[in-house]
């Protein structure tokens, strides 16, 4: 009972404070900036995924200046806490809310239905609502090009890939990487380890070490931090980055290249249309042609003439004269999944749950 009375006192104390706080909420002014809410799965300090999203947010801030006010929420968990965060942003007056992780989508849909006056933008999922869009980029195009470079620079032909989850997004990236690698070295293999986390510096590093122990000499990754690349470099091996330009972040030419995101190119028009009232629901999947994805500058370790070969391939993709999942495709059990001359449709790519020939590992 003693503790109980203590807690009663505490509660009383806090309630008085609440009432003292009540009524302080300022009424919105006419010339208030347009409020934009942004939710990140990790902290922009990860120097990877959320960092690049924040670069997009900063690009929007630079573009709009005083016209917008951005409210950021970082390290938001993928559970009810996400719905709470979104509602708090709506509460704070945000008219458009971005969220950057896959498992936010159910919670965003729920909050979007309850707040029809606010626009919602979900990155990397597939759910939508009249006031909720989803957006992503054709990162697989860059994965293919980075796979070419990895295979060229590998001496063993054994490439390692640290993957987060067996979602279509990750599987597609691994497949594209393997196709690019085998276009250069038909004997190259890509071994996959799953970490079952987007963001965990220590697990990501452990995954890379497991691959290095198995003889991989280039480590690629679908993770949020630079740890897999760092682990490879510390062993004197090579790495392929992701999200941001790892070569400049890690400070080593052993990072051959990094497929990168350019989120600002989506966020700026989305915010602009929300301000103008011309916002439209869409499922956006931009590629090289929209500058949504790009390749970082390539390491000087890669021969100049080969760099030119990669750039030539990139031009083909940009022009639309060729794409990664065109032509005959076999899965890693040898079964033909797509006949020669066929071009894979977007819906097949967005639900991909099998590995191409040359990938060692299992999706399930």
């Amino acid at each position: 009972m003693k503790k109980l009375s203590v807690l009663l006192v505490l509660l009383l104390l806090s309630t008085t404070l609440i009432f003292a706080q009540g009524g302080k909420e300022a009424a919105p002014k006419a010339d208030e900036p347009f409020k934009v809410g942004v939710i990140y799965i990790s902290s922009p300090g990860d120097m990877g995924y959320s960092y690049m999203h924040d670069q997009g947010t900063k690009a929007a801030e630079a573009y709009f200046g005083d016209k917008i006010e951005v409210i950021r929420m970082e390290n938001v968990p993928e559970n009810d806490g996400a719905a709470r965060a979104m509602e708090q942003l709506v509460d704070a007056g945000c008219k458009i809310v971005f969220a950057n992780s896959y498992n936010y989508q159910d919670y965003m849909l729920q909050v979007a239905k309850e707040n029809p006056d606010v626009y919602f933008e979900h990155c990397s999922g597939y759910l939508s609502n009249p006031n909720m869009s989803n957006y992503f980029g054709r990162m697989y195009q860059m994965r293919y090009l980075s796979g070419m470079i990895a295979a060229k620079m590998s001496t063993s032909g054994k490439l390692g890939y640290v993957g987060a989850f067996n979602t279509p997004e990750v599987v597609r990236g691994i497949n594209a990487f393997a196709l690019g690698a085998r276009a250069i070295n038909p004997k190259a293999t890509v071994t996959v380890v799953w970490t079952n986390t987007w963001y965990d510096p220590s697990l990501e590093r452990q995954g890379a070490i497991a691959l290095l122990d198995q003889g991989a000499d280039v480590i690629a990754q679908h993770q949020d931090t630079t740890e897999p690349a760092k682990a490879a470099i510390e062993r004197g091996k090579l790495a392929v980055g992701y999200n941001a330009d790892f070569r400049s972040i890690v400070g080593s030419d052993s990072v051959l290249v990094s497929p990168m995101w350019n989120w600002g190119n989506y966020m700026i028009p989305a915010i602009e249309s929300a301000i103008n009232g011309t916002w439209k629901q869409q499922s956006y999947w931009g590629g090289l042609e929209d500058d949504m994805v790009k390749l970082s500058p390539i390491s000087p370790l890669v021969p100049k003439d080969f760099q030119a070969q990669v750039m030539a391939k990139q031009d083909e993709i940009a022009k639309g004269s060729w794409d990664v999942f065109w032509g005959e495709l076999k899965d890693n059990t040898g079964a033909v999944r797509q006949k020669a001359g066929e071009k894979m449709a977007d819906d097949k790519m967005l639900t991909m749950d099998w590995f191409v020939e040359g990938v060692i590992g299992s999706v399930k």
């Binding site: 503790k3 807690l7 159910d106 067996n166």
Partner: protein, 352 residues
């Protein structure tokens, strides 16, 4: 001069009230230093946190929803703590509750839909009880240290849940999680975000209070914790009670996982191990194992979480600042509690 910590002769009632209060003020002041160092006005920041946790009906609802699993896990581990059995496996037992209800919802479809929810809750509860019963049995039979077993079993449960929602039970379409439960089998919401789990949690509070303070069994548990020798002379079976208490403890933590899954995520998915089981330990500890006091502690802890959101929104502070403040609230409160039963004694060195 030497300083020694000495046990008080009697539990001081005045101290029991004064010390947590002082501790709380100390923690607020510590937090203020950190806030000032990061160029924020502490009063504004605390105001924003309170406002974020209780400022309107919606925020209050979120705080209640967040407090329910904390309360239930706190009640669960509290039972084991009465015996000085350190069950830190609530997280795993909670996860088993989530697995259990998902198993029923996904694979027991031979049941009529209205039966899925009650059966699912019962199965989740049972699995939590069994999972907790194992370390209880090991301790009772062979004195295996429960701190280690309960802790390690958490990671087994979490790993299994991951395997299920990422691989075995995964929904098609590359979703990261199992298929959604049938809508008719969700635990309904009764006031905004607040779901019917609140009735289950409050009923548990009353039930446990009765069990622990009004029945012979509750008396036995207390005796085992306070004075195992005396209990043994009285003919109380310590082994049997350890296993029973752990089963009840795990059942409540498991039920907590089932309730939350049926009410919020409606499927087994990433984020199932949200740390409620671990925070439950703090709830049990700070409430002095009193079920009614647990309600208040759980609400305060939940408010620290929901309020921390507001720090990012209103104060534009990074998320980590919320965590720092939460930690700073806990340390003085937990550290201060030692002075309820102990006092400092200053002994002057005698002249040589």
């Amino acid at each position: 001069m030497r300083v020694v910590v000495e046990k008080r002769d009697t539990r001081s009632k005045r101290m029991a009230i004064l010390i947590p209060l002082v501790s709380f003020i100390v923690s607020l002041m510590l937090g203020a230093i950190v806030l000032i160092a990061s160029k924020s006005n502490p009063l504004q920041a605390y105001g924003a946190m309170l406002n974020g946790a209780f400022g309107n009906a919606r925020r209050f609802q979120y705080t209640i929803v967040e407090s329910l699993p904390l309360l239930m896990c706190g009640l669960g581990v509290g039972i084991a703590f009465r015996l000085k059995f350190w069950n830190i496996g609530a997280e795993g037992q909670y996860v088993w509750g989530a697995i259990g209800i998902t198993w029923v919802m996904q694979f027991w479809r031979f049941l009529p839909v209205p039966m899925l929810l009650p059966v699912g809750l019962a199965v989740g509860m049972t699995l939590g009880a069994l999972w907790a019963g194992v370390p209880g049995f090991l301790k009772a039979q062979w004195s295996v240290d429960e701190t280690l077993t309960t802790l390690m079993l958490n990671y087994v449960a979490i790993g299994l849940a991951e395997y299920l929602y990422i691989n075995k039970w995964k929904a098609p379409l590359g979703n990261m999680g199992t298929p959604e439960f049938p809508r008719e089998a969700w635990l309904p919401q009764i006031w905004g975000k607040v779901h019917a789990g609140i009735f289950i949690a409050l009923a548990l509070v009353v039930l446990l209070w009765f069990l622990l303070y009004k029945t012979r069994w509750g008396f036995e548990l207390n005796m085992i914790g306070k004075n195992p020798k005396a209990a043994r002379y009285q003919g109380v079976s310590i082994k049997r009670n350890i296993v029973l208490a752990m089963i009840l403890s795990g059942a409540i933590c498991g039920l907590s996982g089932s309730v939350n899954t049926a009410a919020i995520a409606h499927r087994l998915t990433k984020g199932v191990n949200a740390g409620y089981g671990f925070t439950g330990i703090i709830i049990a500890w700070m409430s002095g194992l009193n079920p009614f006091a647990s309600i208040l502690v759980a609400v305060v802890m939940a408010a620290l979480t929901t309020g921390a959101d507001a720090l990012q929104i209103a104060m534009k502070l990074p998320e980590s600042m919320g965590e720092v403040l939460q930690g700073l609230v806990l340390i003085p409160l937990l550290a201060g509690s030692i002075f309820v039963e102990h006092k400092l004694k200053f002994i002057k060195k005698e002249a040589a």
